[in-house]
Subunit: 198 residues, 2 copies
Amino acid sequence: MPLATIEHMSRPPAARDAVLDAFEQILVHDGERAATLDATARAAGVSKGGLLYHFASKDALIDGLIGRLDALVEHDVHAIETAPEGPIAYFVRSSVAMAHPLDRAVVATARLAQGGSAAAARAIRSARERWFEAIGRHVADPTVALAITLIGDGLYYDSALHGDDDELGVDAPRANEMDALVALLERLATAPPPTTPR
Amino acid sequence: MPLATIEHMSRPPAARDAVLDAFEQILVHDGERAATLDATARAAGVSKGGLLYHFASKDALIDGLIGRLDALVEHDVHAIETAPEGPIAYFVRSSVAMAHPLDRAVVATARLAQGGSAAAARAIRSARERWFEAIGRHVADPTVALAITLIGDGLYYDSALHGDDDELGVDAPRANEMDALVALLERLATAPPPTTPR
DNA sequence: GATACTATACCGGCTGGACGGTACAGTAAT
DNA sequence: ATTACTGTACCGTCCAGCCGGTATAGTATC
């Protein structure tokens, strides 16, 4: 929400973003079961009534998170196209960096999808498609694009498995492994597909 | 449980496997939230008391599923080593075939892990490690082994996103895409790592 | 410029239902 | 007689959603 539109309002809705942040945080850190309305309100420093003022139901809260994800994905797809280090390096590395808002939103939404939210599952699939298309625009061989997208999926999947434990990313790929992986994929992308039989 | 040990018992425990099947099915198809003891018992055609006769608590039920997963993974690792079509083709293809018991167990356990079960998360990580080691035994370049394992993870991740909707694997890789992917990875595995700078 | 009213942004207690788990009496196969 | 259940009733807890209330800021009227 742009600042200019706030001026005429009585009070800026400080709670809305705080609630969304807290919801995301609990989903990523403690799993879907822990992300109750009470816990979310408490973590956001807001009363339960206050939360429900902004999000009339849990579904509305989920929709709010999905909206945030959609916006971040849209921004990310643009970032892929214009990244100075190239689209592949940007995409693969950003799939493992849990510090960025996008990754938190993806993992949080994936948790909801696993928990049974059809809307969350749809949002994740939509994001995946947009990434695949963006990669496809920069990689000639569609098989290589598929491989890169799947590796991104795999990195997210792994990230999601480390949220519960105390240590984050305990067996996540190390920096030099990631360097080698990026190098491998970029070699694949630039090299023309070899003489394919059939 | 081997058949030989059943003989001396009054009645073979028919419900035990039915309960585990139903639990798996609900986890895969409807998500973790839906996999309650009541729903599991109902789907298994067993009374709630009957379920609790075999699994004294929900944790015990989860442990039962993890035990089944561990056994299937052990069998699968052996299958990777001895697959006639080669380890890579077997591994990649088996990661997407939702019909096999292993895949159902993996997705079901992953759902539990996402929901917050530390034991389930541990089981999934353990399975991942064993696959990575098995692939590493057949692929010289560790980066290629990592890439293959991550693609396997990505395929599971995608499978897990299609359980909620009516149509299974609606945008899962098609057969010819999988053929091309397998061919790409086998090319990578056999080709020696090119002159790496540094 | 004081009063009356409205809209926005919250608080916190309550309720009804679902869920995990317990208890236990009975039944049927072996 | 032991094993493998069925069926029902019940308890404590947790949670989503609801509702009545409060505080504050803007607006309209006179």
